[in-house]
Amino acid sequence: MTDLPKASKPRTGPRPVLRRALDAVYDGAGVLGAACLLAIFAVILAQMVARWSGLIFPGAADYAGYLMAAASFLTFAHAMNRGAHIRVSLLLSALGPRRRWAEAWCLAFATLMTGTVAWYACRAVYWSRKLHDVSQGQDATPLWIVQLPMAAGAILLALCMADNLVTLLLTGRDNITEDDLPDQPQADQVQGE
C-alpha cells in the first residue's frame, strides 16, 4: 500500500536557527511553486481570451509547460516535509520500533538519488547556457533560463533529503509533518496506518 510516513509528534520548545532557516527556504520555494501554478492559470486564460478575440498568444503552451516544471520542482521539498509524497509503507509499519533504520535507508537512498538528479540538472543548465540552446517552440526562449527553477528545486529536494537523514540520525525523528487539515482532499492517500 502507498501511504504517508508516520506522523511525528508536534515539536515543542524553541527551534534552532538553522532548522527555522531551512524550513523557511523549503516553504518559500513552495510558495514560489504555487505562484507558478497561479501563473499557469493566468497564461491559459490569456490564451483562451486571445483565441476568442481572434488574436494569437505565441508560445503559450510552451510557457505553461515551463511553469509546470518550475511549479513541480520548486514544490518538491515543501511537499516532502508535509508528507505529500507517497510510498509503500507496509513494511515500515510492520517494523515497529526498528522502523528508524528502514527510514534511514529510505532517506539515504533518496539523498543519493535526488543528489544525482540535482547534479545532472545543474549540468543541463550549464550546457544549455554554454551552447545557447533555444526552445524549439514558437517562444524561442533560451533554455537555461527556464531550466533554472528545475535545478534550484532539485538542489533543494536533495538538501531536504540530506537534512531529514541527518536529523533522523541525530534526534531519531525526521522533519516530516502531516498536513494540519483533517483530510487532504486530492491525494488519494491515507493518514493512518
Binding site: 500500500m1 502507498t2 501511504d3 513552495g30 510558495v31 511553486g33 504555487a34 501554478l37 497561479l38 499557469i40 492559470f41 491559459i44 486564460l45 490564451q47 483562451m48 483565441r51 503552451a61 505553461a64 509547460g65 515551463y66 509546470m68 511549479a71 513541480s72 514544490t75 518538491f76 515543501h78 511537499a79 516532502m80 505529500a84 509524497h85 507517497i86 510510498r87 509503500v88 507496509l90 513494511l91 515500515l92 528502514a102 529510505c106 537512498f109 533518496a110 538519488m113 535526488t114 538528479v117 545532472y120 540538472a121 549540468r123 543541463a124 527556464v146 531550466q147 498536513d179 487539515l181 487532504q184 482532499p185 486530492q186 491525494a187 488519494d188 492517500q189 491515507v190 493518514q191 493512518g192
Partner: protein, 436 residues
C-alpha cells in the same frame, strides 16, 4: 526471454526499493538508473535529465494541477451541506430513499473533482450523520459510500485518466469523454443495488421523509444549480471542442472561484490553502511521472516489455483471456500501490501487450480505471476504506465487508464494459475535435 538473469536483478531492485518504503517517484528513478546501468552503455545521467525535463515541462500535464486546484477550492466551500440538502428531497421517494444521496452526491462531486478520497470526504461528511439519524442500516450507508466514491476516478475530471493519457500519449479530452457513460452506468448499477436491498434487507426501516411541495424541493436545491452549471461548462466545453482539457480546467478553476466567492467561503486563507494543497499534490504526482518516464525509457532497453508481449502473444490468448489476466494482475497490485502508481509503473510493460492484442487505448484507459478503482475498496488495504475508517471509527473488517457488494458490482461493470465497448468509445468518437 534471452537475458533472464539481468531482468531478474532488475525486478528484484524494483521490488526492493518500492517495498522498503522509498518514495514511489524516487524508487522508479532508481530502478530505471539500474536498468540503464545493466542493459546499456549510454551516458545515464544526461539521458535521465533529458527525459525528466521533457516529462515535467509538458503542456498536457498542466491540466493536472488546474483540475486538482478546482477540486481543492470546491472542497473548501459549503458544497457538502448544499449537496445533501439539495439532493435529498428529490431522492427520498425512490426505493432505497436517502441512500441514493450517497451515490448521486458522489457522482456529482466526481464531476468536479478528480479523486475518490476527496469525493468520499465531501459527500460522507454530511450524509453519514444524516443517514444515521434517520436509521438507515449502517452497513448500507458505509458500503454505498465506499463504492460510489470510486466514481471520482472515472467521471471526468479524473486524475488517473490524466496520468494515463500523459503516460501513453493519448488525448485527455477523449479519455474524459470515454469515462462519462461508464461512470453513469456504474452509478446506475449502484442505485439499482440500493433499490433491491431496500426491499430485501429486513433491517431497512428508515424514518420516512416529510412530504415536500415541488416549490420547496426547488428552493432546497437552488444551491446545487451553480455546481451543475460548472459541470456543464467544464465537460461541455471539451465535448463541443471549444476548449482543450487544460483550458476546460482553467475554466473550472475560474468557475469554482466565482462559486466560492458568491457563497462567501472564499477568503485569503481558503484561497492560499487550496493553492498550496494543489501545488503539493501536483508535485507529488509530477515526481511519480518523472520516475515513470525514465523507467519506461529504461524498460525499453531491458527488452522486458517486448519479450513479455511476445510471450503473451505466443500463448495465443484471446482478447478476453488477456483482459482477465490483467484484471487479476491489477487487483493484486492494487493491494500494495495506489491507482496512479500502479498505472504508471506497469504501463510500459502492458502497452505493447495491449497494442499487440489490438485493444483500443481509450477503451483500455477506462478498463484500467475501473480495475484500479476496485483496489480502492478491497482489503487488505484500500484507500477509501482507510478514509471511511477515519470518518466512522468502525473496524476495517466491518467496512471491507460492507463494501464487498460494491466490489462485486464493479466486477460486473468490467464485464459490461467488455461486452459493450461502445459505452466507452461512442462519446469520444462523436465529439467535435478540439482546438488542438
Amino acid at each position: 526471454m534471452a537475458e533472464l538473469g539481468p531482468i531478474a536483478v532488475f525486478l528484484f531492485i524494483l521490488f526492493l526499493l518500492l517495498g522498503s518504503g522509498v518514495w514511489v517517484g524516487l524508487a522508479l528513478l532508481g530502478v530505471a538508473w539500474m536498468g540503464m546501468e545493466i542493459f546499456t552503455s549510454r551516458p545515464i545521467g544526461d539521458a535521465m535529465l533529458t527525459i525528466v525535463w521533457r516529462s515535467s515541462s509538458s503542456w498536457t500535464l498542466t491540466a493536472l494541477p488546474l483540475f486538482i486546484w478546482m477540486g481543492e477550492i470546491l472542497f473548501r466551500t459549503r458544497l457538502s451541506e448544499d449537496m445533501f440538502r439539495g439532493l435529498a428531497p428529490w431522492l427520498a421517494r425512490l426505493p432505497g430513499g436517502l441512500l441514493h444521496t450517497n451515490v448521486v452526491g458522489c457522482t456529482v462531486f466526481a464531476a468536479v473533482s478528480g479523486s475518490s478520497a476527496a469525493t468520499l470526504t465531501t459527500v460522507g461528511k454530511m450524509s453519514i450523520p444524516e443517514l444515521r439519524k434517520r436509521g438507515y442500516p449502517e452497513r448500507l450507508v458505509i458500503g454505498t459510500l465506499a463504492g460510489a466514491a470510486t466514481l471520482g476516478l472515472m467521471i471526468p475530471p479524473s486524475l488517473t485518466l490524466i496520468v494515463y493519457g500523459v503516460t501513453i500519449n493519448e488525448s485527455i479530452t477523449k479519455l474524459f469523454m470515454a469515462g462519462i457513460v461508464p461512470g453513469l452506468v456504474l452509478a446506475a448499477m449502484f442505485m439499482g443495488y440500493v433499490a433491491v436491498m431496500s426491499r430485501l434487507a429486513p433491517d431497512f426501516t428508515p424514518t420516512p421523509e416529510p412530504a415536500m411541495t415541488f416549490g420547496q424541493k426547488l428552493a432546497n436545491s437552488r444551491f446545487l444549480a451553480p455546481v451543475m452549471a460548472l459541470i456543464v461548462v467544464v465537460i461541455g466545453s471539451m465535448y463541443l471542442g471549444l476548449a482543450t482539457a487544460t483550458e476546460a480546467a482553467a475554466l473550472g478553476v475560474a468557475g469554482a472561484l466565482v462559486l466560492a466567492g458568491a457563497q462567501g467561503s472564499l477568503s485569503w486563507a481558503t484561497f492560499s490553502a487550496s493553492l498550496m494543497g494543489a501545488a503539493r499534490t501536483s508535485a507529488m504526482i509530477a515526481l511519480i511521472l518523472m520516475g515513470a518516464a525514465f523507467l519506461s525509457l529504461s524498460m525499453g532497453f531491458t527488452g522486458l516489455p517486448r519479450a513479455l508481449a511476445e510471450w503473451i502473444g505466443g500463448m495465443e490468448l484471446t482478447r478476453f483471456q488477456l483482459l482477465m489476466a490483467l484484471l487479476v494482475f491489477y487487483i493484486v497490485l492494487g493491494c500494495f500501490l495506489d491507482g496512479i502508481s500502479s498505472v504508471v509503473l506497469t504501463i510500459a510493460v502492458v502497452e505493447p501487450m495491449v497494442r499487440q492484442a489490438g485493444i483500443d487505448f481509450i477503451w483500455f484507459g477506462i478498463f484500467i480505471v475501473v480495475v484500479v478503482e476496485m483496489a480502492q475498496i478491497t482489503p487488505p488495504i484500500g484507500f477509501n476504506l482507510f478514509v471511511l475508517q477515519g470518518m466512522t471509527g468502525h473496524e476495517m473488517n466491518r467496512i471491507a465487508r460492507a463494501a464487498l457488494p460494491m466490489f462485486a458490482i464493479m466486477v460486473v461493470m468490467v464485464f459490461v464494459l467488455i461486452a459493450f465497448p461502445g459505452l466507452a468509445t461512442w462519446l469520444p468518437e462523436n465529439m467535435r475535435s478540439g482546438p488542438g
